[in-house]
Amino acid sequence: MQKNWWKILSFLILIYTVVGGLLMDVPRLFILNETIRNLYFHVCMWFGMMILFLISFIYSIKYLSGFNLRNDIFAHNFAAVGSFFGILGYATGTIWANYTWVTDQSQSLGSILKEPKLIGAAIALLIYGAYFVLRGSFTDMDKKARVSAVYNIFAFAMLFPSIWIIPRLVGSLHPGAPGSESGNPALNFKDIDSRLRMIFYPAVIGWTLLGVWIATLKIRLQLIKDKSLLHE
């Protein structure tokens, strides 16, 4: 029980996120109105994804430095849950954009599809999709682990231009683009005041911990399955 404290912490934080996120006061903003509360859910998915991908990246490096298959299983499952968070972030983003970009700013679908943020995020997710395809195409375990670990490092490196740099350089409706007068999508967002931060930061931690929990479940199952291969 002692090493499970973070699971309880995740549960408590997410309860706080839902209750506080829906009931506590938020800044009154044009266009966004009450949907600013999506910050506690949509943006947290992306933050969770980035943290899970970072963990996966670290395990890939660890695999390459010692060729322990255990680290490969860790890297694979953290990337899987990270991608899942990314897909959830994308799906919630489409719903949010549908009500704040299309109707209020008289944007057509064509201009939405040109959004650099959406394209960048799609590229990043597709690169991670290719990671799983690559893994599936190997029959030899060591070769699979080695090639996919190298590819995972590349995939993580591709996150930098596709979701952190390019969307900040070109105009976009998404917060964080030069046209929207805010430097950073979430952290330095001019509309994010202390009332939002009070829930947003814990929410990021809570969602990430939930993702880590699910990833560890997948890892533990895989470790039981591959017990004979791991020689432990």
């Binding site: 699971k7 309860i15 929990w213 479940l217 533990r220 039981i224």
Partner: protein
Amino acid sequence: MNKLFRSLLLVVCGLLFNAVVFAQDKPEMADVMRSNGKIYVVVAVCLTILIGLFIYVFLIDRKISRLEKENN
């Protein structure tokens, strides 16, 4: 008389314009939902889903722990 009427019109227009600006200054929020307490229904639904999800994950966790014990 004409002058007085004109200045009066100006004041009225100014007040009206002010009201329009004031209305735009305050973005619409779901205040009705909050005042009649229906927001608590939403909170209850979300909490039920969240707690259910956590119970499910917890049960899977326990099952895997049991599997690990059996395997060792």
